[in-house]
């Protein structure tokens, strides 16, 4: 019994060693990003491997990047893009998901197969025509242009449909006896029950929009009208070797989402994990 217990303790210890080393390698890029952002340029390019910490914690790089790169605009654009995409996606997908999951209507199977086809096709195939449409609409360098391809979501419809299918059948019967029409049943009874699927879709949509690089680069070439991701790409071209400034920009761009993740961890993990690899 003693040796069994000792063996178990050793196993646990080894697992912790592995997990700690792995955690460390996951965190190093983040730590290095933040530490470098506070360093002077000379310190950041020091070849002494033991200059890990800045000699003095200077916010200069943050303030330089903030003013010379209009970070306020980048935050605002990213926030608005995310907000509108989440509202559009959750609203349209929850309606369509309810219809596909709970109602019978002509052409249902055909329309649903279109949803499945869209989910299988790589999104790059849509981009050239989407760009041409946005430019014809005069939406280049606007929030509307950023939101455009995310106005509806096949994946979200699929997700919400699954959510609605999981609800018990008698709910609607009880409601229709009470004299509710389908719209009222949906709004008052059914929709509140799929709140967790809606939250998952909302978070997935937000993170996906936040991470997207190609679309904002294509439709928003102006430095003040683009998003954080695409803004970073632009900055890298300009400050290519001022590492404290680049890392300050990367820190500022990453921080909001990381803070939100740490607060709403459970919802984030669920929301992203339901995405089925689309991220």
């Amino acid at each position: 019994m003693e040796s069994y217990r000792a063996k178990k303790a050793v196993t646990q210890g080894l697992i912790h060693v592995f997990l700690i080393i792995f955690s460390f390698s996951m965190l190093v890029p983040f730590l290095w990003m933040v530490l470098t952002a506070f360093k002077t340029q000379a310190e950041s390019t020091s070849i002494d491997p033991f200059v890990f910490f800045p000699s003095s914690w200077s916010f200069d790089s943050f303030s330089t990047v903030w003013t010379s790169y209009n970070f306020l605009y980048l935050y605002k654009n990213t926030l608005l893009m995310i907000l509108f995409r989440v509202i559009c996606a959750v609203l349209t997908a929850t309606m369509a998901g309810y219809a596909f999951g709970r109602l019978n209507f002509p052409g249902k199977n055909l329309l649903f197969s279109l949803i499945l086809i869209q989910m299988m096709v790589p999104s790059q195939i849509f981009i050239i025509p989407q760009y041409i449409m946005v430019s014809r609409l005069g939406w280049l360098n606007t929030i509307a242009g950023l939101v455009f391809p995310g106005a509806v979501t096949a994946f979200g419809t699929f997700l919400l449909k699954t959510g609605y299918q999981g609800l018990p059948r008698d709910l609607e019967e009880a409601a229709s006896i009470d004299g509710c029409n389908i719209g009222q049943q949906f709004l008052v009874i059914m929709m509140p029950l799929t709140r967790s699927s809606m939250v998952s879709l909302g978070i997935f949509t937000a993170v996906f929009a936040f991470k997207d690089l190609m679309w904002p680069m294509i439709v928003c070439s102006n430095a003040s009208s683009t998003t954080l991701s695409a803004g970073l790409a632009k900055m890298q071209g300009q400050f290519s070797s001022n590492y404290p400034q680049l890392m300050a920009a990367a820190t500022m761009a990453s921080l909001p989402m990381i803070v939100l993740y740490l607060i709403f961890q459970k919802q984030f993990v669920e929301g992203i994990a339901t995405s089925g690899g689309k991220l």
């Binding site: 249902k108 190609m214 991701s229």
Partner: protein, 298 residues
């Protein structure tokens, strides 16, 4: 379903009305944003884009002939597969280890999970910038700590591995989360029975865990292969135009992006992306056939 064989009852009628009204925004959106673009991209792939986007000229299959007849498409396709060859297996193997460890009663479990999942919420643009700095030949942390002078991202022989490592780092936590939820569905009695029969932990892992987890593993494998074949962000952010290793890591989507949007060669870009679509569809089809063969379903 009412197929006109009988008159619809009022309740069926109202379901049909509400149903169509509820799917209308999504369906109209998908037609405008996705289905029209699919056909339009295919259409454009038969045209040579005129100067300033004006006066496109019909060229038949010429774009396809130059895409498929040229080196760059096949090279970038090969690079894309090379990237997938690093990202997919390693991110799954590490994720499997982490998932098995974190599925036990172990201290700081949720802390570890939080850390491993962290890259999923970071923008790839920011992640790539940091890694580019870490890999820097002169000032990079990696060379400094190990006292090496390796050109991690500008040596054509190494760069594809370095990029793949960033990919593994970015996705391993995501795979881990999916595997943990797969593990939690395996009934405990299986392990108890194995324990009574005297099966060791390693044996249990290969005889119980792996087979019962195979649907989850296959799902991840499938989605990650398709995802890896669309890699763009890392290449775009890490590789400068002047990087001599660029041609050894440039992916298909990167090639598409530069042709369609940097050089505004939209017809040519369309031909690249249509060719890619065919290849991805083919791979999806093959994976689905493989699934029937290899995956163990209860």
């Amino acid at each position: 379903m009412a197929k006109g064989k009988h008159k619809m009852t009022p309740s069926e009628k109202s379901q049909a009305r509400w149903g169509l009204a509820f799917v209308a925004p999504t369906m109209i959106g998908l037609i405008v944003l996705n289905f029209y673009p699919i056909f339009n991209t295919i259409y454009q792939s038969f045209f040579k884009t005129g100067d300033f986007g004006m006066g496109n000229v019909f060229v038949g299959l010429q774009n396809f002939a130059s895409v498929l007849g040229g080196n760059e498409f096949w090279r970038s396709l090969g690079n894309t597969f090379k990237y997938a060859l690093i990202e997919v297996p390693f991110s799954i193997i590490f994720a499997l280890l982490l998932a098995v460890f974190l599925n036990r009663k172990i201290a700081f479990r949720s802390g570890y999970r939080t850390i491993f999942f962290l890259p999923m919420v970071a923008a790839p643009a920011a992640v790539a910038m940091v890694w580019k700095f870490l890999y820097n030949q002169q000032f990079g942390l990696i060379n400094n700590v190990f006292g090496t002078q390796t050109a991690w991202i500008s040596d054509p022989g190494i760069a594809w591995i370095s990029i793949g490592v960033i990919g593994v780092w970015s996705i391993v936590g995501y795979n881990m989360i999916l595997l943990i939820s797969g593990l939690q569905e395996i009934p405990h009695d299986y392990y108890e029975a194995a324990e009574i029969d005297g099966a060791t932990g390693v044996k249990q892992f290969f005889k119980i865990t792996i087979p019962l987890l195979s649907p989850t593993i296959f799902f991840i494998l499938q989605t990650r292969i398709i995802g890896a074949l669309q890699q763009f962000d890392l290449i775009y952010m890490v590789m400068d135009n002047s990087n001599r290793a660029l041609s050894s890591v440039e992916t298909v989507v990167y090639y598409f992006y530069t042709q369609a949007f940097t050089y505004n060669n939209r017809g040519f870009g369309a031909a690249i992306v249509v060719s890619m679509l065919v290849i991805i569809m083919l791979i999806t089809f093959l994976l689905q056939r493989a699934e029937k063969k290899w995956v163990f379903y209860n």
